[in-house]
Amino acid sequence: MTGHWTELIVFIILFVAVSGMGFVASRWRRAQDLNHLDEWGLGGRKFGSWITWFLIGGDLYTAYTFVAVPAALFGAGATGFFALPYTIIAYPLVFLPVLRLWSVSRVHGYVTPADFVRGRYGSSLLALLVAITGIIATMPYIALQLVGLEAVLRSMGINHAGILGHLPLFIAFLILALYTYKSGLRAPALIAFVKDILIYIVILVAVIYLPIKLGGWGEIFGDAQTKLSSINPATKAPYGSTLLTANNQLQYATLALGSALALFLYPHSVTGVLASRGRNVLKRNMSALPAYSFMLGLLALLGYVAISAGVKPVVNAATGKPDTSTVVPELFHGQFPGWFAGIAFAAIGIGALVPAAIMSIAAANLWTRNIYKEYFKRDATPAQEAKQAKVASLVVKLGALVFIVLIDPQFSIDLQLIGGVIILQTLPAVAISLYTRWFHTWALVAGWVVGQAWGLILLYGIPNAAVKKQHFGGSALALGKLNIFGWHPFPGSALQVYVGFVALVANLLVAVIVTLVIRRFARPLGVDATSPEDYHVDEGSPRIKEPQLDVAAAPERT
């Protein structure tokens, strides 16, 4: 423990201060009462540009991102840098769809993406599929925030096996659960300010101070290339390279594209979007959010800095294996004075709390709106909805905690990998439906089933020799392995592609074919509750009805 005390004290002071903010947040821009889902789950739908920027930024750039992206460069080199093109193209890609989603949701009072699908197609089944996909994809994401938090704790010397090792995590999450319950979306929105300011300070210092200390970027990239090109005894091949190879370029591009398309399908991103005040707030944010990409890119390079500084990952006392998530925390521990390392650890730790809170709120909204209200209590009052969502957010967080404590953290990393692939399969039902209702409801269901099933089968079949895993070894599929009912379209090809992308193509193909077939025999199902102008409405329009217009109870709009 020696050498860790200063870090721990700074960490605890900042953590406690932020938790206090979380509880006070319920009074911030207070509404008449928090007993309405619009207030608890969307912060009153009136966040301006700054708050939205911090909220969405805090939402998307999570603690897991902070530890996993540099760890990917540390372990495999250039392929980990896909996070950069991913966040470069994400905002231009979603710029227009997000505006349409905001407008239509504001007019009809939609709280979740599944609400929109329910209104657009009049199909509770399709909405249920979207809601379930969202919840399943979000749960492991919350668990991963704990992995990020735990990486920091282990680097501060709190590295024990069994219950004792998890106790600090337990306390941190209990506090988080309590203030989210009390303050709703206002809590992470307020805390995000602190988190981002801390993160920016830490990153700026790290990327200026560390290269000077270690002999400059030229030296760092040289060291990284030397280390990565050495032979990994487990795979009998180099660990990686600081450049892409002929085989992984397609994987790099499709992973970036697939991740960018998936980003705003995640329910927690939608929550951040719907909480904003108007269309111009969102447009301004789509322009300003890439500032985070800059930070993310610099942060990613810390993986190489860690190689150059000779960092060794901490051996996780609970699993007995080296934990690569600890690479960046170990770098800070080794290179910075204790008090500054403490600030850095607090930044990452708080970085876990903000997204975990938003994600649990988003999952709770899905549960409440699209499962509880749809199937259990159709006449739920707004107050009952809010109550249900608050309790659901507690259950979701508890679930994530149990996950981490009882099951190997590696399992939640696998699930997160799967989560990215499965959430992408809601693209036709959610994103494309913002533009057209051409697809038949049953075709979307069929495409969803095929996309999910095939995506899972492909992921299951990918081994990873480096960590001795037979299944779920990564998201890069060698095209030569592609097998469509025994037909190999690219035999022997070693070219790699992102699984989610392949599954999405299959999903879309099925949806198109089934739509064409059904249209020959039947009329479209259901009623479209939205009208074309709804997709352009902005704040202040008389079309926006305050505060509630029920989706489930209003299949038709007059």
């Binding site: 710029f95 892409l244 447009k283 074309p532 352009h536 902005d538 202040g540």
Partner: protein, 94 residues
């Protein structure tokens, strides 16, 4: 659906703005062949890395221009008589 009439009458679900085409530009960062090389380096950083940082700036410029050029878009109102007048004007101009 797909009744997107080009004259922008109420009832059209899609609006086309030429400025929005700028949003396609950042996709160039997906073409890895452009930048997957070591030289030229910048402050010791291989081309692969600093090129993608430049890509962020290009992306920001594109989204910012679209924001500035489209921030005064009309706010549709259901039975707004003004809209009808606009439509009539457009019809008369042709």
């Amino acid at each position: 659906m797909s009744t997107a009439s080009p004259d922008g009458k109420a009832g059209s679900g899609l609006r086309f703005r030429a400025w929005n085409l700028l949003l396609i530009i950042p996709l160039f960062t997906l073409i890895t062949a452009i930048y997957n090389k070591h030289d030229p380096t910048f402050i010791g950083m291989p081309f692969f890395y600093w090129f993608q940082f430049v890509g962020i700036i290009v992306g920001v410029i594109c989204t910012s221009v679209v924001y500035l050029m489209t921030k005064d878009e009309p706010n549709p109102v259901a039975t707004d008589p003004g809209l009808d007048v606009d439509d009539l004007d457009e019809g008369a101009a042709r």
